[in-house]
Structure formats: structure tokens, C-alpha cells
């Protein structure tokens, strides 16, 4: 029974469309961000590559990610587009350890899921195949991000202080605040609590709208105060992309489950 219930996610067709399009948008931004490091990868290369990408082919990963992202945004050739993003992202991830980032890994996973959930015609009456994996993935990200922060160095505020003191934030926190122990500890604790709350609350029907608002504000805060806002924006978009799925998720057996309607989007997506 549980295996059958796990097979399909029932969510509004517009939520599925929004999820794929926002993942596509995140992919396009990430492709732009990949250009500079990949173009200069060979200038001073310590041997950190798992797979050796010939220097002349540095443009392949950003091209695949951008092209696939465009397909997802346009919601055309979703299978091909999602696969292109996933393959391009994987090449970048393993072409050099220096290109690893959690948001790139999340992009690869969500793009791969966008590809495998696409059908010949949509929306599907039976629901979104493998759709639960999309929601669980984001919960896993939030949950393990919180769990990994349960260490003395982070809770004391020291890690946050050193991360936030680096130049490059849109709205840098004042030095006076960074120098104080208590506010940094409070910020660290709040981060852990919010991440834990998001991992759980997005699944609870009564509180999920509030959780989605909390997630929006949380990611906006990260984009504003943490150096490297462009990459954090990609991460935010990837997490936000799944919120409509959480918000419109219904039980397969419940009356009024989010079934496709006559006017819902129906198009070729393979």
C-alpha cells in the first residue's frame, strides 16, 4: 500500500509547471555563474578532477545547463532539458572539486527529477510520478543542513561570524554586531531552528503556508547578508520552486485532491 501511495504525488498542475520553470531559471543563472571558473580552470589546475574535462571543452557544462534550463522555462522537451541540466551539472561537479557546491548538486538532482517526472502528455490523471522524491529532497537538504550545524563551533556563533565577515554581501552585517557573542549565538540558533522547522513544517497541512512564508523570508535573508549572493539566489530558487508542490499536495484518497482540470495545462513535454 505504502509503495503504491509513494508512486505518485498529487499536486496542482500549475504547481508542477511552476516547479519545473523555476528550476529552469535557476539552471540558467547557474550556467552563467559556471562560465568564469570553468574558463579559467586550466590556468592553475591542482589535480582535483574526478573526470578530466579537456580544456577546449570548458564550455560544454554551462551550455548544457543553460540549454536545458531554457527548455524547462519554456516547458518544452522537459525530459531532454532536465537531462541536459543534470548531465551538464554532473560534468561540472566532477570536472573539478573546486566547482562543487551544494546548490549545484541540488540543481542536478531536481533537474533529473524534472526529467523523469515528465510524461508524454500532461497533466497526468494518476499524479506526478516520483513527485515525492522532489519534496523529500528539499526536506533532506533543510534537515541535514540543520543537523550538521549542531556542533559547538556553529552554535557558539563562530562559524557564522567568520562566514559573514567576508566581503561580498549585498547588505553586510555591521562589524559591531559581528563582534558580539550573544547576537551571533542567537543568529546561529535561529538558523538551526528555522532549517529544522522547514524540514518538517512544509509537510504539515495546517502550518505549511506559514512555513512557505518563513522559507521565503529565510532565503531572502541569506541572499541579503551572506557573501556570494548569486549562488545563494540559485539555492533559494531551487528550494522555492518546490513550495507550490508542498502547498497544493493532497492525499490521493482525499476528496478534492488536486486532479487536473479541463482547463489545466495540456501540452507535449517529451
Amino acid at each position: 500500500m505504502i509503495r503504491q501511495r509513494l508512486a505518485y504525488l498529487h499536486a496542482a498542475p500549475t504547481a508542477v509547471l511552476t516547479w519545473r520553470r523555476v528550476v529552469g531559471l535557476a539552471a540558467i543563472i547557474k550556467a552563467v555563474l559556471l562560465i568564469e571558473p570553468l574558463a579559467h580552470l586550466d590556468d592553475m589546475r591542482p589535480p582535483l578532477a574526478t573526470i578530466q574535462l579537456p580544456a577546449d571543452l570548458w564550455f560544454v557544462p554551462p551550455l548544457l545547463v543553460a540549454g536545458g534550463g531554457l527548455c524547462l522555462v519554456a516547458h518544452r522537451s522537459v525530459r531532454g532539458g532536465g537531462s541536459a541540466v543534470a548531465i551538464g551539472g554532473l560534468i561540472a561537479l566532477f570536472a573539478d572539486e573546486r566547482l562543487y557546491s551544494n546548490h549545484l548538486w541540488l540543481l542536478v538532482l531536481l533537474a533529473a527529477l524534472a526529467a523523469v517526472t515528465a510524461g508524454r502528455t500532461e497533466p497526468r490523471t494518476e499524479g506526478l510520478p516520483y513527485g515525492h522524491l522532489v519534496l523529500l529532497q528539499v526536506s533532506v537538504v533543510y534537515g541535514f543542513a540543520a543537523a550538521s550545524k549542531l556542533n559547538v563551533a556553529f552554535i557558539s556563533g563562530g562559524v557564522l561570524r567568520s562566514d559573514l565577515a567576508v566581503e561580498g554581501a549585498l547588505i553586510p552585517l555591521p562589524d559591531l554586531l559581528l563582534a558580539q557573542q550573544e547576537p551571533m549565538m542567537a543568529l546561529a540558533l535561529a538558523t538551526v531552528i528555522i532549517e529544522l522547522a522547514l524540514a518538517i513544517a512544509l509537510w504539515v497541512r495546517r502550518v505549511r503556508p506559514g512555513a512557505a512564508v518563513l522559507g521565503m523570508v529565510f532565503h531572502l535573508g541569506l541572499v541579503a547578508v551572506v557573501p556570494g549572493w548569486e549562488e545563494l539566489l540559485v539555492f533559494a530558487l531551487l528550494c522555492w520552486s518546490t513550495y507550490p508542490l508542498f502547498l497544493t499536495r493532497t492525499s490521493a484518497a482525499s476528496p478534492g485532491a488536486a486532479r487536473p482540470t479541463a482547463h489545466a495545462i495540456t501540452q507535449q513535454v517529451t
Partner: protein
């Protein structure tokens, strides 16, 4: 693929989704790649002092080689590897001189 098989595939993938970061959280050097260890742990600063064939010494930091990812444990893996990108170096040492690697 019928619903039961699809459900089994989902179940197995869910185990992987949870299992990989769970194992990395317990046993890996942190921060580790693929474990969602985001801004969670302190990582030591990294600087290399190179002694060259002509006796000259030079100091290099992480930015020089685009080594800003925290998931690469620079202090553990990079010293020996950097011999290949500093062709005239005869010896590399970390900033406080506790670790040294002879390149040639």
C-alpha cells in the same frame, strides 16, 4: 512500470536520499561534499610557503587557485598536490611550518 514497482523505486531512492547524508554526517571529515553541510563547520585557513630552486620563497593563499570551497579539506589534501602547479618549488610548507612536503 506499474505502481508497485514505481513505489519500490521511490522507496529505494528515499533510502539513498537519507542514507548518503546520514552516513556522511556520522563518519566523514566535515564539511563533506554531498552531505548538505552548508556553512556548518569551521575550516582552517590555508596558505602555502614555497621554497624554490633558486632559494626564493613565495607565499600563496587559497584565492590564488580558486580554492574557496570549504568541502575541500585543503589542509589535508592540497599540500602535496600543489607541487604540480608550482614547477620550480622544491619544498612546500603550510603557514605555520608544521607540515612540509618535498617536491623534488
Amino acid at each position: 512500470v506499474n505502481d508497485r514497482v514505481r513505489g519500490t523505486i521511490v522507496l529505494l531512492l528515499v533510502l539513498l536520499q537519507f542514507g548518503v547524508p546520514a552516513v556522511l554526517l556520522v563518519v566523514a571529515d566535515k564539511p563533506a561534499r554531498f552531505g548538505w553541510h552548508m556553512y556548518s563547520y569551521p575550516t582552517p585557513d590555508f596558505a602555502v610557503v614555497a621554497t624554490h630552486t633558486d632559494g626564493r620563497m613565495s607565499v600563496h593563499d587559497r584565492d590564488e587557485w580558486m580554492l574557496d570551497r570549504r568541502e575541500i579539506r585543503l589542509d589535508r589534501v592540497m599540500l602535496g598536490r600543489l607541487c604540480t602547479v608550482l614547477p620550480t618549488a622544491v619544498e612546500l610548507a603550510d603557514a605555520d611550518g608544521t607540515e612540509r612536503v618535498r617536491c623534488r
